[in-house]
């Protein structure tokens, strides 16, 4: 094989020429070159179930958060006023019974006795001086000894006592039935 023909095609080499002719079919034809096909971007669409599960999870999380905050807000909610509504004849003994509680939380009557004339005042003071123990004991029996209470505290206590009294009364019904009264 002559290397010159292979190098710069000078001279002739029948074997190589024959080889070239055979392989010419596979040579690159610049004229028939085609631009490559545009690259197709494959966008992977999220599957329906994936979307559904994400949405489901988000909705459940929102519902759970709302429930938790609602439950917590209910626990620390402000108070509704206790109301006694009378229709027509208001003879609810509840209101009447609740009233005695209020004086129990104020000063005893004996301590705030007011008199108009000097003689009456003197008599009242003498009464208080003579029988302070008896009056105080009676006052203590009727009215529990409490510190100064604000209006709100008195109101709250009254309402609580009212509620507990009704509850206790109803529970007593069961107790009495069980005891056979």
């Amino acid at each position: 094989m002559k290397e010159d023909y292979l190098w710069d095609k000078t001279g002739s080499d029948p074997a190589i020429e024959r080889l070239e002719n055979t392989l010419r079919v596979f040579s690159f034809d610049e004229s028939s070159r085609q631009t490559p096909a545009p690259a197709i971007e494959v966008v992977e669409k999220p599957s329906f179930f994936r979307l559904l599960s994400v949405g489901f999870a988000a909705a459940a999380a929102c519902i759970a958060i709302a429930m938790i905050s609602w439950t917590l807000s209910n626990q620390f909610e402000g108070v509704e006023d206790a109301a006694v509504v009378d229709h027509g004849q208001a003879t609810t003994s509840v209101a009447d019974v609740a009233v005695p509680v209020e004086p129990a939380l104020t000063k005893p009557d004996s301590a705030v006795m007011e008199v108009s004339s000097g003689a009456k005042r003197h008599k009242a003071i003498r009464k208080r001086a003579i029988r302070p123990v008896a009056i105080t004991a009676k006052a203590n029996r009727r009215k529990p000894d409490v510190e100064k209470l604000s209006k709100e505290e008195i109101y709250a206590y009254n309402r609580l006592v009212l509620a507990l009294s009704i509850t206790g009364d109803k529970l007593n019904l069961v107790r009495e039935k069980i005891k056979g009264e």
């Binding site: 759970a64 209910n74 620390f76 509704e80 509504v85 039935k177």
Partner: protein, 193 residues
């Protein structure tokens, strides 16, 4: 990316399972008692919870009285107390369907009926329900229906029922006789001022 989806589904299911647990509480809804309110002659409505209850507990603890101390102890864990009493002019003036909403709520899981009293006198029916969360009492409900009155009591939180019934009529918790047959009414022994 398949692994996170499984976790998401698991978390979702756990959250959904937790929601009923959060919703279940001992609070009875009295919203649908409008019918009773319109028919009743008089209505007693007491709602104590939140700050008012805390205030009342503090006052009860301050009162220097042995019974009051017992009450303060009995209600120390209380979270709320709701009372509705409806008194009617005539017998059978209300429909049992009006009370069914409350009874249905008490059929929900968690509530257990511990007492059931029926009396033909005054057509009286008393039901006492309790709800427990673990070993702790989380609520009490009492439903009393008579010929001329209906009463609902809902207590949220642990409370000593026996002590409360025992203390009724003592201290400044007077025994109430809102509606009783005049022929059987006895003079109350409460301390009136």
């Amino acid at each position: 990316m398949r692994l996170p989806i499984k976790y998401l589904l698991l978390v979702t299911m756990l959250l959904l399972a937790a929601i009923p647990t959060l919703a279940q509480d001992a609070h009875i809804r009295f919203d649908r008692l409008d019918q009773l309110e319109t028919k009743a002659r008089d209505v007693v409505e007491v709602n104590i919870d939140g700050k008012l209850l805390d205030l009342a507990k503090r006052v009860t603890a301050k009162v220097n009285n042995p019974d009051s101390k017992k009450v303060a102890l009995a209600i120390s864990g209380l979270k709320g107390i709701y009372v509705r009493v409806y008194n009617f002019q005539n017998e059978s003036e209300y429909d049992m369907a009006d009370i069914d909403d409350i009874r249905n709520q008490l059929q929900a899981p968690g509530w257990e009926r511990i007492a059931n009293v029926r009396s033909k006198r005054n057509n009286q029916k008393v039901d006492v329900f309790t709800m427990f969360t673990g070993d702790m009492m989380s609520g009490v409900a009492v439903v009393v229906s008579e010929a001329k009155s209906v009463a609902f009591v809902n207590v949220i939180g642990p409370i000593d029922i026996d002590l409360l019934a025992e203390l009724s009529g003592k201290m400044n918790i007077p025994r109430l006789e809102i509606e009783k047959d005049p022929s059987t009414t006895s003079k109350p022994k409460d301390e009136k001022e």
